[in-house]
């Protein structure tokens, strides 16, 4: 290639810029379709996400709603924010502090039957290590307690 020195620098700069801008555009496009949105039950009831879309649902595990299925590994429960209630199904080993009346963030998809199928549950580890979304749920807890 008989590119003169000065031009070669520009060509290299051009290639780098095109690749980086391409990467940026690709990233923005992919993020729009792949980012997982955070829902509270009221949002999910009002605006249900598409059934193949991975989202997260956060709220309180309603007291008395937790039921173990016969297979011994699946659990059904209801996540509530005081305004709406979403049934959730989870098969797996539950986090230690996952109990009724406490906060939870479920990662998964909303099934066509209106049950949220979680493939992962985030619960509080302990008093110090609280998932970020869960702090916002202190308000939800208050809302629920006020309705009682």
């Amino acid at each position: 290639m008989a590119v003169r020195a000065k031009h070669q620098r520009l060509v290299l700069l051009g290639i780098a810029l095109v690749a980086l801008i391409g990467a940026g555009l690709l990233a923005t496009w992919a993020l729009r379709s792949q980012a997982s949105y955070f829902y509270v039950p009221a949002d999910m009831a009002a605006n249900p996400p598409e059934s193949d879309r991975a989202v997260r649902l956060g709220g309180m595990v309603e007291r008395g709603s937790m039921k173990n299925a016969a297979d011994g590994v699946t659990v059904n429960f209801i996540v509530s924010d005081g305004k709406a209630r979403i049934p959730v199904r989870f098969a797996g080993i539950r986090p230690a502090l996952f109990v009724e009346g406490s906060g939870v963030v479920a990662e998964g998809k909303l099934g066509r039957d209106g049950t949220f199928v979680a493939d992962n549950l985030l619960a509080k580890h302990d008093e110090k290590y609280v998932p970020r979304e869960m702090k916002d749920m202190q308000q939800a807890r208050k809302a629920i307690e006020n309705t009682k």
Partner: protein
């Protein structure tokens, strides 16, 4: 008394950093030459003082001195000694002190041994290092004092997060920090070279060992961190694209690019401005990572303390250093003269491709990691995970791996593709066989197929640069490259195997029942209580047979710590040459009829350990390359020391170094 001494040492070290900046800066001016003599000694003493402060903090943790707030909040007298020591950096303040210590020692090391650069560039470099250190000293002293006292003194400490009570933790953060902060040296070199306009092969040769060293630590740290996440979190995954993982991946990507552009600059005097730019970017990514992790702005086990003031402080440091360095770059880049030319089909061309792809992966990782922050500012909460990162990064990684098949065989400056295309047949055949085999055993997804085909091809292709050479006489640095590139292929094969072949089973098992997972039959023999130094546990005893072979025992536990109170699953693993069995014990469930069953999560993960073996090979390759550079440098120094009558030899060595 001891904590006050530690704090005093820190203030002294900070003052010395100020002096180092001042003297280094003055020595650059026309009439300040007299200051140059003190810069190196000051840098060394500063590093030693910071290390002494770190030593005192470790001692306070070992003694469990509860009058120190940090110890009381993060340690406990009943903790095993190793975790008392590791607990020193298992918290915000301690980890920042470790950061400053590593930075100080790094600067001291450079000041003590680096003699290749022109003295003014060296002074500018050490002043730059001091400038960066000063910001972090200020952060430590004003916003995160590790030696603050607590009154009244509590009866015992809060303990350390059990997830962090693991042998891996003892070494993982210091290793990563050596990498992160080691890049600060590349950053300072870049600043020094920009200030004195001395960007050339000598600069690249002086900087390369430091970048290599930092990069090796990063590679080991990331590999160890990935393995830690794999077996401690009990989710069976090895990479989650968690912000903290990304925070370590981004500097690694930049450092990898820097390493390769450095060799272009050292060998061919090309890519001058680009290399300096990468030097700035690599450490900037370390700081961005620290900001993301330490500010608590993103959720993570690593987010120790959520304190907006600290986040603001680190953000200000980021703005000053990254903004300042980029501004300096913008002002000086035009005066960095154009390097040598090269054709597109050449070693340089392939390395430019490698650099552009690595930078693109870095870009998409950065965007994906920061995206939740942007949307949250707009009022929408999102999280970004593997569905985004994996395919998008693969779009750049796969072309890069394809070029890696032949790039190292190309000649510098100008080459013909037809010269290497014949040799390339071998890796291509391997790729076809491996891909065909994967397809035949039922792998249908595109990315795993590509990984399974490219991995073995890369291993074969990486050895090809050795062809036609005597294996024993090939230079060590060539061996380093061969092993590191082969490691990439090995790791890629492991990663692809994980998504292609992993078999998972989740059951509630009665004691005595046998489960089938892939080729394994696993019997839950019993579940019994067991106690450790600061925990109690239920331990499952699993008797497993591979394909009817000999029986092996695995003991997964569900462990409950009491300081702080927390339950964790402790997985049990059994490796074979062709994979790993991974078992987790969950809760007991009692059915309506009163039957007791235990939840078990079982995985058979064929070839998955290759991920970490590959990572270690990459680090080993880096180690060999570093060894060869250091050996060359020592030889040259020795030759120089032997004086003038052997000048011929020196010239010969210098020639060998340039080749």
């Amino acid at each position: 008394m001891l904590p006050e001494i530690g704090l005093g040492l820190l203030w002294l070290a900070a003052a010395l950093a100020g002096l180092q900046l001042l003297a280094g800066g003055l020595s650059l001016s026309a009439n300040g030459g007299g200051m140059a003599g003190i810069v190196r000694p000051v840098a060394i003493v500063q590093g030693v003082l910071a290390a002494a402060a770190m030593g005192i903090l470790i001692w306070l943790f070992v003694q469990t001195d509860l009058s120190v707030k940090l110890v009381a909040e993060n340690s406990h007298s009943a903790k095993p000694l190793m975790y008392k020591i590791a607990g020193t950096w298992g918290n915000h303040e301690g980890s920042m002190l470790l950061w400053v210590t590593v930075m100080g020692l790094g600067g001291a090391f450079v000041a003590a041994v680096e003699r290749r650069l022109p003295e003014p560039t060296m002074m500018a470099t050490l002043a730059g290092q001091a400038f960066v250190s000063l910001g972090f000293y200020a952060f430590l002293l004003f916003a995160s004092n590790p030696f603050a006292r607590l009154y009244p003194v509590p009866e015992d400490g809060n303990g350390l997060n059990p997830l962090l009570q693991d042998p891996g933790l003892a070494f993982h953060p210091p290793t990563l920090y050596l990498g992160y902060v080691g890049l600060s040296i590349a950053f300072s070199f870049a600043i020094g070279a920009l200030i004195t306009r001395q960007v050339g092969p000598d600069f690249a040769r002086a900087m390369r060992p430091w970048v290599l060293g930092a990069w090796i630590f990063l590679t080991v740290g990331i590999t160890a961190g990935s393995y830690w996440a794999y077996y401690v979190l009990g989710w069976g995954g090895w990479w989650f694209w968690d912000p903290v993982e990304n925070a370590s991946l981004m500097p690694w990507l930049a450092a990898t690019a820097l390493l390769h552009s450095c060799s272009v600059l050292a060998a061919r005097n090309a890519l001058r401005a680009w290399t300096v730019m990468l030097g700035v970017v690599a450490f900037s990514m370390s700081m961005v990572g620290t900001f993301l992790v330490r500010s608590g702005i993103l959720t993570s086990v690593h987010a120790f303390a959520v304190d907006p003031r600290r986040g603001g402080f680190i953000l200000a440091l980021l703005a000053i250093y990254i903004g300042g360095a980029l501004l300096l770059f913008a002002l000086r880049a035009a005066t960095v003269t154009e390097g040598e030319r090269f054709a597109i089909t050449s070693r340089e061309g392939a390395l430019v491709f490698n650099n552009v792809m690595l930078s693109s992966i870095l870009g998409i990782t950065l965007i994906g990691t920061l995206y939740p922050l942007f949307t949250e500012a707009m009022g929408t909460k999102v999280s970004v995970g593997p569905p985004y990162f994996t395919p998008v990064s693969a779009m750049f990684a796969v072309p890069m791996f394809v070029v890696l098949l032949f790039g190292p065989m190309l000649r510098w400056r100008r080459d013909k593709f037809s010269r290497v295309s014949g040799v390339l047949a071998l890796p291509l055949v391997v790729a076809l066989i491996a891909g065909g085999w994967a397809f035949a055993v039922g792998v249908r997804h595109v990315l795993p197929l590509l990984g399974l085909a490219l991995g073995p091809a890369l291993v074969v292709a990486s050895v090809l640069p050795l062809r036609g050479r005597s294996v024993l006489r090939a230079p060590l640095s060539l061996w380093g490259m061969v092993i590191a590139h082969a490691g990439i292929g090995v790791a890629l094969f492991g990663m692809a195997s994980d998504s292609a072949f992993t078999v998972e089973k989740l059951v509630a098992a009665k004691v005595g029942e046998v489960q089938q997972v892939g080729p394994w039959s696993i019997k839950l023999a019993e579940v019994a209580p067991i106690a450790g130094q600061n925990w109690t546990a239920m331990e499952g005893v699993l008797k497993a047979r591979y394909d009817g072979g000999a029986e092996v025992t695995l003991r997964p536990q569900s462990r409950t710590f009491w300081a702080p109170l927390q339950t964790n699953a402790v997985s049990a693993l059994k490796g074979r040459w062709n994979g790993q069995l991974y078992t987790v014990l969950g809760d007991e469930t009692v059915s309506d009829k009163g039957e007791s069953r235990w939840q078990l999560r079982l995985w058979w993960k064929p070839y998955v350990p290759l991920i970490w073996i590959g990572g270690l090979l990459v680090a080993l390759g880096g180690g060999l390359a570093l060894l060869s550079r250091v050996a060359q440098d020592l030889k040259r120094r020795l030759a120089r020391a032997k004086g003038g009558h052997r000048r011929d030899e020196v010239a010969a060595l210098a020639k060998g170094d340039a080749a």
